[in-house]
Amino acid sequence: MKGLMIKDLRLLFNQKKTWIMYVLLCVMMGFSTQGAFMVGYTVMLCGVLGISTISYDQAENGMPFLFTLPIDRQGYVREKYLLCLMMEAAGAVFGLTVCEIISLIKTGILVSMDDIHSALIVIPVMLCLISFMIPINLKYGAEKARLVMMISYGIVGAVVALVAVLVQDILPSAGHPFFVKLKVFFDETLGATYFWTIPAVLAVIALGIMYLSYRISRKVITEKEF
């Protein structure tokens, strides 16, 4: 595990120019957006960078050699999930820190609790996306995985947008009392009463999905031939 982690961290941090570009991009985004919007971006970016180490392993037919080293296939999968979790945590800390600094520069005050709350809701969502991406990358390789992910994100995005519009606008406008109550529940009761509970519950759900994804990845890598 230690050797694999060193390999992946070196793979990531050997690309100094890419990191400088990403940091500059984050700072620019921090200045041009409101609140803690950027945190979702940095969390996703760091997670994707963690996943990119799978592509580096697969490039130039590297996987057969990798599995001649003193590691087992389950250990390889464990290390990838640990790396992605670490990267996402680092992305969250970095994003929040940059947001706070930029907010202080722009307005003289720290980012509001509402904005941090929004960021904390985004992090579990990003964890779910990463959980979806890892087994696909392991099974199909980076090239095919990119295509599968673009299609999947399109479908998920469209479904989420449709449900949100239905629940928030179309159905309550139709006047049915159940949907009016549902809208009030989402807008007021849920937000006010369970302000901090929501991100916590989402985090638990995201970790559950990640564990399921981990089990699937283990199966994928165990069945794979190199």
Partner: protein, 283 residues
Amino acid sequence: MVKIDHLVKRYGDFTLDVSMEIPRGNMTGLVGRNGAGKTTTIKALLGLIRADGGSVTVMGKDVALLTPEDRKKIGAALSESGFSGMLRVRDVADILAAMYDDADREGFLGLCRRFGLPEDKPVREFSTGMKAKLRVLTALSHSADLLIMDEPTAGLDIEARNEILDMIRDFLASNEDCSILISSHISSDLENLCDDIYLINNGRIILHEETDRLLDSYGVMRVDEDTYSGLDKQHILAVRKENFGYSCFADDRRYYEENCPGIVIQKGSIDDLILIMAGGELL
């Protein structure tokens, strides 16, 4: 150290079915033409593919049950697979030091310098020969009990090939108990190194012999059609049709020297073995 018992692997029309054994301290060569099944055998031996039948035992254990701790005793160099090209030699040294208890980081870096591998350059910028040297040095970086090398000199010029063979000889000098399996289609690589040779063709082992006996006792006769038709064939293993007649590969050179004085019979080489036995007709 290694026992392969009727290992079967099927890929479409191709079926591999091999048995072989590598005793402790033995250096075994696996030769054959491209596509004969050398790499498939080695992949099965390393647990990279699942067998459709038979068994592969490494260090007394089924290969599927080898733990990371067991794998620390194995060094492998594959023909077209290594560490990511994004890494540098010093990264590889650190990774190996973290993975193997007995890895000698400074020794590895010293050997890399000796063989002209820069520490700070990404591996993707290396030449084919440099990448091959790094793959072999990586396999030799710890005191392995079993070394498995698939075509370690493929695609290299004579100078780079000799350097790689020297690395292996140096390693052998200080690790006498190490068992080695080395596959190649370049005969000179194996003639001076291996204790015994397996010849694989179309997924089957068609010959297993000690290298010394192969080079001393085996022979090749090149005869016209009339001579061939009257030739005593009891020691001929395979023949290959040529423009002039036939090339015959025999397992007892002296028998023909004594009994067929008019025929020129030369000492056998591994090239002849591959050309006639794998490319000709077995008798």
